[in-house]
């Protein structure tokens, strides 16, 4: 596997208080990885260490083959970051902010700024001071700033905080498209799980200052979803707590059945359809959120 990010046994403490403990983490080049965990789990500190602005107390890190401590500037020159605070100059206009950061990152393509402003629907606002922007506009401008120099890795710390639903959709769908077109590796930190499910190739879960699990959704599903809970929309009115020997319970407009595996769904449906109507069928415990809580349960 071609790992663009390779972290082994990284620990970090601030004034004797552990913030990261023995973190192992790998990211394949060109993938979108979701770094998930509750507030205070250490996600932001981890991103700062990967960028070489904080120093790990122990462990080894390789980003694009570079050590963040000794080759920090090389890493920072080839990566883009959107922090939670956006980090923009409020007294400067959107355009001036981009001009300034373009100089810092050595961007020579003069059309790049206009392209990004257009893409993130900020063209009409480029000459207004950033201080007058809404939170969503600031976040979008921060994304423009992070993408100015066509980074190889994009670090996004809570990129959808403060965005309205339209803004969230726009940013996430753009990120997916951008990743597909440019093969840029993206690491997204978030605690809003449902937003990431559709765009991430794999996920890493942080809990108690370490990464407790990492894998694709199907790998995680295989490992953590030991039984399948299916919500079936049907006109069947339950008289018992079992159907075909499987546990079930009534819900509004249907039933909830617990099956040992996905293969039993067809058998169940065939039997049900002989006497009843079926309007909808949905597995409810294989989404990211259910898996996240299962993973967390394991370490508690």
């Amino acid at each position: 596997m071609n790992s663009i990010i390779d972290v082994r046994g990284v620990s970090k403490a601030f004034q004797g208080q552990l913030v990261l403990t023995d973190v192992d983490f790998k990211v394949e080049a060109g993938k979108i990885v979701g770094l998930l965990g509750p507030n205070g789990a250490g996600k932001t500190t981890f991103i700062r260490i990967l960028n070489g602005v904080l120093k790990a107390d122990s462990g080894s890190i390789r980003i694009m083959g570079h050590n963040p401590i000794t080759d920090g500037d090389e890493i920072r020159a080839s990566s883009g970051i959107v922090t939670e605070s956006a980090g923009l100059y409020h007294q400067m206009s959107g355009r001036e902010n981009l001009d300034f950061f373009a100089d810092l990152y050595g961007v020579t393509d003069q059309n790049q700024k206009a392209r990004l402003l257009e893409l993130f629907e900020l063209s009409g606002h480029e000459n207004k001071p950033v201080g007058t922007y809404s939170t969503g506009m600031k976040k979008r401008l921060a994304l423009c700033k992070a993408l100015l120099h066509n980074p190889k890795i994009l670090f996004l710390d809570e990129p959808t905080n403060g965005l309205d639903p339209d803004g969230i959709n726009m940013v996430l769908s753009y990120l997916k498209k951008y990743n597909q077109e440019t093969k840029t590796t993206v690491l997204i930190c978030s605690h809003v799980l449902h937003q990431l499910e559709s765009i991430c190739d794999s996920f890493a879960f942080m809990e108690n200052h370490t990464i407790i699990e990492q894998g694709t959704l199907s790998q995680l599903e295989q490992k953590y979803v030991t039984e399948v809970i299916v919500r079936i929309g049907t006109d069947l009115v339950l008289k018992e707590t079992k159907i075909l020997g499987y546990d079930c319970k009534p819900i509004v407009d249907g039933i909830l059945v617990t099956l040992p595996s996905k293969t039993e769904i067809s058998t169940l449906l065939k039997k049900l359809l002989q006497q009843h109507q079926v309007h909808s069928v949905e597995i409810v415990n294989n989404n990211l959120e259910s898996i996240y809580f299962k993973v967390r349960e394991r370490v508690r």
Binding site: G87, Y89, E96, D103, L104, Y105
Partner: protein
């Protein structure tokens, strides 16, 4: 050292000063007070009022004593000339030093802690800007406006003193050797010292207020200088001005070396970013 980055950072900081009203007000008001108001009041009042009548014999004796210490070659025909001469060449330069100190102090403190308070320092530390470039750009961006303010104040001061003083002395009396040594050597050294000390303090404290409070200490030697001259304890001539400038130059070099050694990105980040 990346010149492109350095230039961009300096340009951004200078634009920031121009757009920050409180900063702009400070660097406009301070020169007006020290280089326009003070000399106008003194030279103007010596033209308007008969000071010779107002002062007694004791004051006359004291002025003669001060003048005997100065080794000046100027001849005085009246007491007004003596007062104005002493004020312009010995007391005003000390007061004038407050112009570059206050300006550099305000600009430098804003330059670094301002970035931190606006949460933009994080963006800079996440970019490929080396800490050396960061500090150098902040030093230059604080030094340039402070030096400009200092030189402008000097010119304004000269216009006022010569404009009003010509009527009293019948000749151009500004700048004396004291002033030349001050504006060419001492003022730039004091500005650099103030900027470096402020950057050093700013990189270690969290708020603009803290930085301002700590850097206020720079004013103390200047106050000592003023008190020393008013009390007659010592008079700072051109030679002493040059010696003080040389001492500050050494201090600046030491400070610069300390800043370069202590400016580690990780330490800076941990101290400045929550």
């Amino acid at each position: 050292m990346n010149k492109r980055i350095l230039k961009a950072m300096i340009k951004k900081d200078l634009r920031d000063i121009y757009r920050t009203n409180t900063l702009l007000t400070t660097i406009i008001v301070i020169p007006i007070v020290f280089s326009v108001l003070f000399p106008t009041l003194l030279v103007g009042s010596s033209l308007l009022f008969d000071i010779e009548k107002a002062v007694g014999n004791d004051v006359e004796k004291m002025l003669s004593m001060f003048l005997s210490q100065t080794n000046n070659e100027q001849t005085f025909t009246n007491i007004e000339q003596q007062i104005v001469y002493l004020f312009i060449n010995y007391l005003l330069p000390s007061l004038f030093l407050l112009v570059p100190i206050i300006t550099a102090s305000v600009v430098a403190a804003n330059s670094f802690v301002g970035e931190k308070e606006r949460r933009t320092l994080e963006s800079l530390l996440f970019s490929p800007v080396s800490i050396k470039t960061l500090f150098l750009s902040k030093t230059i961006a604080s030094f340039i406006p402070s030096l400009l303010v200092s030189v402008t104040s000097f010119i304004l001061c000269g216009i006022i003193i010569n404009g009003l003083g010509y009527q009293l002395f019948g000749e151009i009396i500004f700048p004396s050797s004291n002033w030349v040594a001050l504006i060419i050597c001492l003022s730039p050294m004091v500005i650099l010292f103030t900027v470096l000390l402020n950057l050093y303090i700013s990189s270690r404290v969290k708020t603009y207020q803290e930085a301002q409070n700590m850097s206020g200490i720079i004013v103390l030697p200047v106050i000592a200088l003023i008190v020393g001259q008013v009390s007659g304890l010592f008079l700072v001539g051109a030679k002493l001005t040059l010696i003080i400038a040389a001492v500050i130059l050494v201090v600046n070099v030491v400070l610069l070396l300390r800043i370069t050694k202590l400016s580690d990105r990780h330490i800076l980040f941990e101290k400045q970013i929550h």
